[in-house]
């Protein structure tokens, strides 16, 4: 990727970063659509021999052979039996029956995690710079489990199974399904085994935002990653016949529109379909859009497809209008015709102009790449949000990372839009999604693993979370682009990842398999259900009290009781208690607790003890947090942040209260 390494501070000289030899011992397994092995991002110059423990292979297949792997790309396997069983044999004229990436998504995520340094990277000159993955020295292995027809769980299970056997250290999965009990969710089940083998599993939170409770991959042994913007955008100016100009975004780099204003039409008025405003396939009436700029509403079909629909109907340009759900989020696309996306407020003005003007016109101008955009990061509108619908006492997502307009490696099989008709060939593409933020964290986790090989997956995740930041340099809270308001821990979890700080977190909230088994007991899982989820015989101790409240998670989600109506509830304050254990991973020191409320806080928070002294490395100390609250209307939320500091380190945990 370009820009995100510097946005994350990885370009700053720091003695904390592991030596390249340590980092090169770490292998990241990426379950995705495969890889385009000829990418310069997979150059292995300077890398030493592959770790001797590695058992992976470069499987021979359609358009792929064993020589496609090297000291960077150390493994490439594909899993298509489930896909072919469901949809029939792979048509090798359109899809490679091998680990070769025919989609682009897999090449993008893999190079984001651990691509080698490539100078002068860009997409048609946009986002230019030196591209690199987060862990440039780490090795990567690809497990192709997603095909043009989707990702089937029998293939995903086989991919995870093999990745564990091969010996990956980090597993990156930018995929997900609907929420279901842990013992039925193959990603949760597979990740449990992977975690028990010491593998950190990083997954995307999903793109269901800004709807509340829209998360995927919420198992507490998984690191769940949401998406934020970086300080870069790709502005486009949309000037109306009134002379007013509005700023949108675009990656269009083809022949520009003429300087003269063109007629502007709303797609809903140029279609016979009741949802014509979405610019679905064949929905536009050519006579009504020919030579015009067409306003299409976001949603319903891929954004780039809307551009193609307008182009095929004879339109000259397209403006993609955000609805309320997307707010002011500007996701740029490399459309096949001059096109730009526009925020909700400006889109409303445009639509009012079209409906009120007898001859509406517009111009679109493309301004290229802008840097140092502030505020940044902001939480992407599409990034899935808490609360965690499956286990409300575990806060998810865990953290956010760059996931908007990310440039990274791409397949040679399809153009930047991914549309069949797009014949442009590129080595890098700019795309958005929590799919893009997930491999950032996977690569950063590999850096931490290289620096601290003995740390558990939970310790690495804790370091990433407790050092994440939640405010800008001016002290204001990170914003949510869908509202323009301060975001909350339900949007960003512990905050935005800060990898340099994560290398030296001071303290961590560690957890092991026993803790996860205790978590199942706290959920009242039967031995049978635990066996399915954890692949082991385990009976909860009937004499022991298991509580999710005591599960050693680096964040706090506190669902609280609400009144049950007039006369139905008591207004007397109630108290709930959560306990945690901190492990010292730094120098001896005394840490003091402090609690900061984020906005109006309706809860009294007491931490006991208020100070913790550590004299030895890996020494553990416990504490208890009491939350005293009164009843509030259902749906009320409140937020706070607990920090332990020794003056040098800040070990932060978000606290999210929700009255249900």
């Amino acid at each position: 990727t370009t820009r995100t390494p510097s946005f994350l501070g990885l370009d700053k000289a720091t003695t904390l970063l592991p030596a390249s030899e340590q980092q090169s011992q770490v292998i990241i397994g990426v379950l995705d659509t495969g890889v385009w092995p000829e990418l310069k991002s997979l150059d292995d110059t300077g890398l030493g021999p592959v770790p001797s423990t590695w058992k992976g292979q470069c499987e021979i297949g359609n358009n792929m052979n064993s020589s496609n792997c090297n000291r960077k790309l150390v493994g490439a396997r594909f899993f298509s039996k489930g896909y072919e069983a469901a949809l029939g044999p792979i048509d090798t004229t359109t899809e490679s029956k091998s680990a070769r990436d025919d989609d682009g998504h897999g090449s993008h995520t893999l190079t984001t995690a651990a691509g080698s340094v490539v100078p002068e990277a860009s997409l048609f000159g946009l986002a230019s710079g030196t591209a690199r993955g987060m862990a440039t020295q780490a090795r990567v292995a690809v497990y192709k489990v997603c095909w043009l027809g989707g990702c089937f769980t029998s293939d995903i299970a086989a991919g995870i199974d093999k990745a564990i056997e091969d010996g990956v250290n980090v597993l990156s999965m930018s995929i997900g399904g609907s929420l279901m009990e842990y013992y039925r969710d193959i990603i949760a089940i597979g990740s449990f085994t992977a975690t028990s083998h010491g593998i950190l599993v990083s997954t995307s939170a999903g793109n269901g935002g800004p709807s509340q409770g829209s998360l995927s991959n919420v198992a507490p042994w998984i690191t769940t990653v949401g998406a934020g913007t970086i300080d870069r955008d790709f502005p486009a100016y949309i000037t109306l016949g009134t002379g007013k100009t509005y700023t949108g975004a675009s990656l269009y780099r083809g022949k520009p529109l003429s300087d003269s204003p063109l007629p502007l039409v709303y797609a809903g008025n140029a279609s016979n379909s009741s949802v014509g405003y979405l610019c679905l396939q064949d929905s536009l009436i050519p006579e009504k859009v020919s030579g015009k700029i067409v306003i299409c509403e976001r949603g319903g079909n891929p954004r780039v497809e809307k551009g193609l629909v307008v182009k095929l109907a004879g339109g000259a340009g397209m403006i993609l209008a955000n609805s309320e759900a997307y707010g002011e989020e500007l996701v740029a696309d490399s459309h096949l015709l001059p096109a730009a996306s526009l925020g909700q407020k400006s889109s409303e003005i445009l639509k009012n102009y079209v409906s009120s003007s007898p001859n509406p016109t517009a111009k679109i101008a493309f301004l290229g790449t802008h840097l140092q955009v502030q505020p940044s990061p902001v939480v992407a509108a599409f990034s899935s949000r808490g609360p965690n619908a499956l286990t409300p006492k575990i806060l998810k997502p865990d953290l956010i990372a760059p996931g908007v307009n990310i440039l990274a490696g791409w397949t040679g099989a399809v153009g930047p839009t991914g549309l069949t008709v797009d014949s442009r060939h590129i080595s890098f593409n700019i795309i958005s999604g929590t799919s893009m933020s997930c491999p950032h964290v996977s690569g950063l986790a590999a850096i931490l693993k290289g620096a601290h090989p003995q740390w558990s997956p939970a310790a690495i995740r804790s370091a990433l979370m407790t050092t994440a930041y939640t405010s800008y340099k001016n002290g204001e809270t990170i914003q949510d682009v869908s509202t323009g308001q301060p975001a909350t821990p339900f949007d960003y979890g512990a905050g935005h990842v800060d990898p340099v700080a994560a290398l030296d977190p001071g303290l961590v909230y560690d957890a092991n398999v026993d803790d996860y088994l205790g978590f199942f007991c706290a959920l009242n899982y039967s031995s049978f259900q635990i066996k399915l989820a954890a692949r082991r015989d385990f009976t909860c101790d009937s004499k022991k009290v298991y509580r999710v409240e005591d599960f050693n998670y680096p964040s706090f989600a506190v669902p609280l009781e609400t009144t049950s109506g007039i006369g139905g509830g008591s207004d007397a304050p109630k108290t709930v208690k959560y306990s945690r254990v901190l492990t010292n991973v730094g120098a001896p020191g005394t840490y003091k607790a402090s609690v900061v409320s984020l906005g109006d806080l309706n809860v009294k928070i007491v931490v006991e003890p208020e100070t913790l002294s550590f004299t030895e490395l890996y020494e553990k100390k416990g504490y208890m947090v009491s939350f005293r609250y009164t009843s509030m209307p259902s749906g009320t939320t409140s937020f706070a942040r607990l920090e332990w500091t020794d003056g040098k380190h800040r070990v932060g945990s978000p606290i999210a209260f929700s009255w249900t």
């Binding site: 659509t33 039996k81 089937f152 564990i164 930018s174 992977a194 083998h197 692949r535």
Partner: protein, 82 residues
């Protein structure tokens, strides 16, 4: 027949493998064949689950789920890239 069949992931209880079997694969195959003689194993899993995946009709899946040693028979799902 193809339209009527779905892929299932079958979790088996490792500890209940009869001593008459020398390896897990033959036990998986025998269990599967007892429910659906024509069914084939797609994958065997070692780490994620102790089990395998296969194509079955809903009726055969139901029959298999009642066999000794079967922990669960979970229908395959399609996940999405994010």
């Amino acid at each position: 027949d193809h339209a009527n069949k779905k892929t299932y992931i079958i979790h088996m209880d490792k500890s209940t493998m009869p001593l008459t079997f020398t390896d897990h694969l033959s036990w998986f195959d025998s269990s599967l064949k007892s429910a659906s003689p024509s069914a084939e194993i797609l994958y065997t899993y070692k780490h994620v689950a102790h089990g395998f995946s296969t194509r079955l009709t809903p009726e055969d899946a139901d029959t298999l789920s009642k066999q000794p040693g079967i922990l669960s028979v979970i229908p395959e799902l399609k996940y999405k890239l994010h």
